[in-house]
Symmetry: C2
Subunit: 130 residues, 2 copies
């Protein structure tokens, strides 16, 4: 499921270009697909999990290192991780006892591209907004 | 409320730089703030409304031009527009009979920056992902 969503999300982005949210009206199918990914990001625990995974040196995090950062049960954390994975934002691999998670940067790159205005270079765009 | 959220969202971005989601673990407060904005985007009708508003030549759209694009009641459309406005993604102005909506590009710029990997230039990043 995550692979499928990722392909749909990335269908316009093979050349790195970004006909996105801000340049033309979204069609219904694409809006449905994109909304699922944004919905996965629309929760503070999932955002914190994603940032912990994405910012980890080495690129992956053992679930055993994620759970202690939250005052939540292991099943709750696992549920949030599953939603991030279904949205194509992270991937996982079981090795021995533990599951290891890593960012799928293709998806966050696509979201960033979709949210970028045509001609706007982000590091220089502050102050240029109307 | 939208103004307040916008300020919090933009607090790291005054110089256009982007210590974001992918570079360091988010703290709880910032995760709460960001999650509200992503949650506003986590609905296909709201994404379509936002793209209709953002892509309109001239920069603003009358609510009277938005409603016919959807098979939904005016109150439902107004509710979705209210949520986008509360998230700091759009602003509105009443002139005469109608309300006109426009994108707040500062917010989408910030989201794009937050989702951009350090050193990743979006137009060149395709294929460079691990």
């Amino acid at each position: 499921m995550s692979k499928q969503q990722l392909e749909v999300l990335g269908r316009d982005g093979a050349d790195g270009c970004c006909p996105g949210l801000l340049t033309a009206p979204l069609d219904e199918d694409r809006a449905e697909t994109l909304a699922k990914v944004f919905k996965a990001l629309g929760d503070p625990v999932r955002l914190r999990l994603l940032s912990l995974i994405a910012s980890r040196a080495g690129g992956e995090v053992c679930v055993c290192d994620l759970t202690p950062a939250f005052d939540l049960s292991q099943p709750t954390i696992s549920h949030h991780l599953k939603l991030l994975k279904q949205a194509g934002l992270i991937d996982s691999e079981r090795r021995g006892t533990w599951v290891y998670y890593r960012l799928l940067p293709e998806t966050t790159d696509q979201l960033a591209a979709i949210l970028t205005r045509p001609g706007a270079l982000l590091p220089e765009s502050a102050g240029a907004a109307s």
